[in-house]
């Protein structure tokens, strides 16, 4: 089952990579310079790191039948807080810690709205999505805050053979995979996604689990925000992480995690994030005019979604109406 779900996205990824190879024979070339690995593949990994990280948090949220629309705004807030702090005190570590602390609070807020008040996730996080950018602009006072700090620049643009950004994302991926698949946590998360009430009655602390995934998602968004801001050495409250929530959700869905909750695939998310980033890179390398990027992206998304669509394979059966959510 898992294999068949991952088949199409994997084929899409391979097809995209081969397409690149046809247009640019040197696409797979990697070279080491000054102890750094360079090449188009490395670029894909580096640019895809924030999306991958956010998609990881999103995967767990979606597995509980939720969704987190606020991640882009949270990423903008994290960048804004850090850069403002660095600009005033020059303390990068403190700034990042402050930003991540704030992100955890924002995640607590989302989790509170969803798990305690019982608001639908899409609308609960829409509040922060709308207000969050306003808050980020409040922090930066509407300006683009530029910083020049070596420690901070490492997060998004630094190298440790591979780009540090992707190392962080992969480390988080490995951590989450270990934590949720080697312990019962993953099963509990899926149980909550299938039926929060039933799992509560079965003794699962649904509320705590829902709360945890939103905090985790906000923290991932925070770190991704740091990467984005550090990559350009500036915090742009308006445009940092704009629409990244959509990319992340797409990555999760392309990876075969159902928005109806109850099951998730971290490997799928990794593939999904890579597909999205490869897609963007492909558009540039094969010389598609940049203005058609979005059409191209939409086409791929539609094709992948339709191929995965449950009803395409059983159109001969009477469609059973499904009602997600309650």
């Amino acid at each position: 089952m898992t294999r068949s779900r991952l088949l199409w996205p994997l084929l899409a990824l391979v097809a995209l990579l081969l397409l690149n190879l046809v247009f640019t024979p040197s696409f797979f070339a990697l070279r080491i310079q000054d102890g750094h690995l360079f090449g188009s593949l490395v670029d894909i990994l580096r640019n895809g790191a924030p999306t991958l990280l956010i998609a990881l948090g999103m995967t767990l949220v979606i597995a509980t039948r939720g969704i987190d629309l606020s991640v882009g705004a949270v990423a903008a807030i994290a960048g804004a807080v850090t850069c403002t702090h660095i600009a005033t005190t020059g303390d990068a570590i403190g700034g990042m810690a402050l930003a991540l602390g704030l992100c955890a609070v924002l995640g607590l807020w989302n989790g509170f709205l969803v798990s305690v008040i019982g608001i639908q996730p899409i609308i609960a996080t829409l509040v922060l999505m709308t207000a969050g950018r306003g808050m980020a602009m409040l922090v930066t006072e509407g300006q683009i805050v530029t910083v020049n700090n070596d420690v901070f620049a490492k997060v998004g643009a630094g190298f440790l053979v591979l780009p540090i950004a992707i190392l962080i994302s992969l480390a988080v991926l490995a951590g989450v995979a270990l934590l949720t698949r080697r312990t019962a946590l993953g099963m509990l998360i899926e149980a909550v996604g299938v039926n929060p009430e039933a799992s509560r009655l079965a003794g699962v602390r649904s509320r705590t689990i829902i709360w945890t995934v939103y905090v985790f998602s906000a923290l991932c968004a925070g770190v991704a925000g740091l990467m984005i801001a550090s990559n350009v050495n500036a915090a742009d409250a308006n445009n940092a992480g704009l629409w990244i929530e959509m990319d992340a959700i797409l990555a999760v869905v392309i990876g075969g995690t159902s928005l109806a909750g109850g099951r998730y695939s971290l490997t799928g998310t990794l593939i999904g994030a890579l597909v999205i980033q490869t897609l963007t890179t492909t558009v540039y390398t094969i010389g598609v005019p940049p203005e058609t990027t979005l059409v191209f992206k939409a086409a791929v998304v539609i094709v992948v979604c339709l191929l995965q669509a449950p009803r395409l394979t059983r159109t001969f059966r009477v469609p059973v109406p499904q009602k997600a959510g309650a």
Binding site: I67, L113, I117, G118, I119, Q120, I122, I123, A124, L126, V127, L128, M129, T130, A131, G132, R133, G134, M135, M137, L138, G142, A237, M246, I249, L250, V253, L259, A260, E291, T292, T293, L294, V295, F296, K297, A298, A299, V301, I302, C305, L306, A309, P310, R311, L312, P319, P321, Q322, K323, A324, G325, A326
Partner: protein
């Protein structure tokens, strides 16, 4: 022989709480209206010249396109779906209108083409949602990318509209009594609202919309044509977005790929503030209109204040959203289990 006079039985004097006199399904709409009156009242106390007919008229003039878009969104949300593509479809409509007018098409053909494109995009998304079981969020997200992408394909730069008919419609104003002027856009928006209310409450289609939002499987089992409705609401939303796009192109007299970025969020916010449940099945188009007016008033207030920066609008809209969701939550909790 005279009949004994009909005497009404003595009324009980006990105070009935408001919530049981007014059906609770109207409460969110009433609450929205109260908030509108309060925000507007606050504005008129604070600023001279706020409480004039023209400021109210301007609310409609500036938000006519948003009203139309929010009406379409209401249909989709009533069935429990969501349409993220509206902002992009609005942009695409302005772009198609501007580009085809520049190419010398007659105005009526342009309007037809724009409306047909919107409805067609909606149809595509509806088919994806219904026929292939793709989640509305994802299907309309793809639609959003597609429509925005097509804008860029048409032109990266802003195209101004110089066509005579369009300019005439855009710049004409209708004088109302009391020295208030409105545009044709407002008239169109109000007609759309009236038609939408008629369709929702007095036609089979409208009742099926509510039924699908209440419980899709029950509606199907009752023999209602849920499939038609589920596709239909996306067509309506696409059509409304295209019409909203036309109004927007009257308003801006230009087509631009970056018009109406994030409009879908404003529309969703207006619908939610207007008392429609995102889970579907509960809500009114009138609520969405008042929701748009509330958002418009907040913006007007902030521009009257002058010293407040534009980002406060976003924060205030977020807080308003939160307040209304909390209110709905309270009402839903009080109701007996369905």
């Amino acid at each position: 022989m005279t009949a004994p006079p009909l005497v009404a039985p003595p009324r009980e004097k006990t105070r009935v709480p408001l919530t049981s006199r007014v059906p609770s399904r109207f409460l969110p709409v009433i609450a929205t209206f109260v908030v509108f009156v309060l925000t507007f009242g606050a504005g008129s106390i604070r600023y001279e010249g706020f409480a004039t007919g023209q400021v109210v008229a301007n609310l409609f003039i500036d938000n006519a396109f948003l009203i139309v878009v929010a009406v379409g969104m209401t249909f989709v949300i009533l069935t429990g779906g969501i349409d993220l593509s509206v902002g992009s479809v609005v942009a695409l409509s302005t772009m198609i209108a501007a580009a085809t007018l520049r190419a010398g098409w007659p105005a009526w053909l342009v309007i037809l083409a724009v409306l047909a494109t919107g409805a067609l995009l909606g149809l595509g998304m509806g088919v994806m949602v219904h026929r292939f079981g793709v989640q509305p969020f994802i299907a309309t997200l793809a639609g959003m990318f597609l429509a925005r992408g097509l804008c860029f394909v048409i032109s990266v730069e802003s195209v101004s509209i110089k066509d005579g008919t369009f300019r005439d419609i855009a710049l004409a104003s209708i004088e109302l009594p009391g020295e208030v002027a409105i545009t044709y856009g407002v008239v169109i928006a109000l007609i759309v609202v009236a038609v939408a209310a008629y369709v929702l409450h007095l036609t089979r289609f409208g009742r099926t919309v509510y039924a699908v939002g209440g419980s899709e499987s029950s509606a199907t089992l009752m023999g209602l044509r849920t499939g038609r409705v589920k596709v239909g609401v996306y067509v309506i939303s696409g059509f409304c977005s295209a019409l909203g796009g036309l109004l927007f192109s009257f308003y801006m007299l230009s087509g631009y790929s970056l018009h109406a970025v994030g409009l879908e969020l404003d529309a969703i916010a207006a619908v939610v503030v207007g008392g429609t449940l995102l889970a579907g099945g509960v809500g009114y188009v009138v609520g969405s209109v008042v929701g748009v007016l509330v958002l418009g008033t907040v913006q007007t207030l902030i521009s009257f204040e002058g010293t407040l920066s534009s980002w406060w609008t976003k924060i205030v809209i977020g807080v308003l959203l939160l307040a209304f969701i909390a209110l709905q939550r309270l009402i839903v909790r009080r109701q007996p289990v369905k």
